[in-house]
């Protein structure tokens, strides 16, 4: 729990607290927060700001609003109240398991050039999110970014020119970053990666393959 070195920034936490992130980014944020108490505390402080602002303004309700609400209460919850406790030994925290339909073993991988495997998860179209499995010692294809890219490590670790990222660590990249992440020796590196624009690969082969694999 306490070994996380790379965290969410305030813009992302506030964006999540105010419901202003694309669903794909929200999934990465919720997954990181499930692993990181520091970011959870920071998120809840941004939510406290929302709570404090809630006090500022009122709107009139219809006369029978309270009775109508008691009627809703008497009907019982529309969906069962879900409590998602951390599962023991799971690789994926519960928000991610919801999207995958299970833990790591349930992922339907597709191999893409370079030996990397990926699985695109279904979210709203304003951004995309995928699971990546990078073989131990292998490099991710060299790519630049348009827009923002979030990469959250779930298993194994990767290194780029400057840093090491292991389970729970999140890398926040923008268009200025050109890097070459390499999975550490020893085990494959599983990441959850969200982009708000398609990745732009710089090598020729990946670029040709790009439209076909939806990278």
């Amino acid at each position: 729990m306490s070994n996380i070195n790379h965290h969410l920034n305030d813009a992302l936490l506030m964006g999540y607290a105010t419901a202003n992130l694309p669903e794909a980014f929200s999934l990465v944020v919720a997954t990181h927060i499930s692993l990181c108490d520091d970011c959870r505390a920071r998120l809840e402080s941004f939510e406290a700001l929302g709570g404090a602002l809630l006090d500022e303004e009122v709107a009139d309700l219809t006369d029978d609003a309270l009775d109508a609400t008691f009627a809703l209460i008497d009907d019982g919850p529309k969906e069962p109240i879900k409590v998602t406790q951390p599962a023991k030994d799971a690789v994926f925290p519960s928000p991610l398991r919801d999207y995958v339909g299970g833990d790591l073993s349930a992922v339907q991988w597709r191999t893409i050039p370079g030996g990397v495997k990926q699985a695109v998860l279904e979210t709203s179209k304003d951004a995309t999110v995928r699971l990546l499995s990078i073989p131990a010692g292998a490099a991710m294809p060299d790519h630049g970014h348009r827009g923002t890219e979030l990469t959250l490590v779930l298993k194994g670790a990767f290194k780029d020119e400057d840093d090491r990222f292991a389970r729970g660590d999140i890398e926040i990249a923008n268009e200025d970053l050109h890097h070459t992440p390499i999975a550490e020796e020893g085990e494959d590196c599983i990441c959850l990666a969200a982009t708000d624009a398609p990745l732009r690969f710089r090598g020729l082969i990946p670029r040709i393959a790009q439209p076909f694999f939806g990278i």
């Binding site: 809840e44 406290a48 709570g51 404090a52 809630l54 303004e57 009122v58 928000p95 709203s124």
Partner: protein, 216 residues
């Protein structure tokens, strides 16, 4: 900026019970005596939510409803929901409060904060038709009770935050409101606000640490 965003209804508190933090005159804020704390913890929203959870107390719910439902509706309308939809969603938000009363952790959030998160999630659901990925819950078991001192401290920090917001220059306040109620700009909202969020964060962190410890 729509004009109605800066209009405040000054008469709204007249019929409310006196436990809302907005009711206290500013000078009592400095005196944090034990009596003050005990009196408030007897009466506040946290205690009412607890009565909803433990006793299924409809009168407690009605008090919470009368204070918060008009605020939830205003929030939903500012976020771009039509009035009819805002009314419907507000009732659903308040019904959810009843149904989830057992999950509220007063050591980590004020009742306003908790209601804000329920309303925000309802807004995403109703307006954007999107799923909302939520972090894993770290709830107290139904039998466990948070430390009362933590609860009181959390309430005090929340009150400080409300006060800090009302002390902000109007321009900065509007910026924060825009971030929270629609009209987003990521670069603008990242600005320094000078609000005591750091202290709130430490309180929540402390509560989380205790929770982790209790779950071991």
């Amino acid at each position: 900026m729509p004009k109605d965003m800066i209009i405040r209804d000054v008469d709204e508190h007249v019929d409310l019970p006196s436990y809302g933090s907005t009711m206290r005159p500013p000078d009592t804020r400095k005196k944090k005596t034990m009596t003050n704390m005990v009196e408030r913890s007897k009466d506040d929203w946290t205690a009412l939510v607890r009565r909803i959870h433990i006793d299924k107390d409809r009168r407690a719910f009605a008090s919470v409803f009368r204070h918060f439902a008009p605020r939830v509706k205003a929030f939903l309308m500012k976020s771009g929901t039509s009035e009819a939809l805002a009314e419907e969603c507000t009732q659903e938000v308040m019904a959810t409060l009843w149904q989830k009363a057992h999950l509220f952790d007063p050591a980590r959030a004020s009742v306003s904060t908790w209601i804000y998160t329920i309303a925000r999630n309802k807004m995403i659901d109703a307006l954007r038709k999107q799923k909302r990925p939520e972090p894993e819950d770290l709830t107290w078991g139904p039998e466990e009770e948070p430390d009362q001192a933590d609860v009181v401290m959390m309430q005090q920090e929340s009150d400080r935050l409300v006060q800090a917001i009302s002390d902000l220059p109007e321009k900065q306040k509007l910026l924060i409101e825009r971030a929270y109620f629609g009209e987003l700009s990521h670069s603008e909202i990242a600005e320094e606000t000078g609000l005591p969020l750091g202290t709130i964060k430490s309180r929540i962190r402390l509560a989380l640490d205790r929770l982790r410890h209790a779950m071991k």
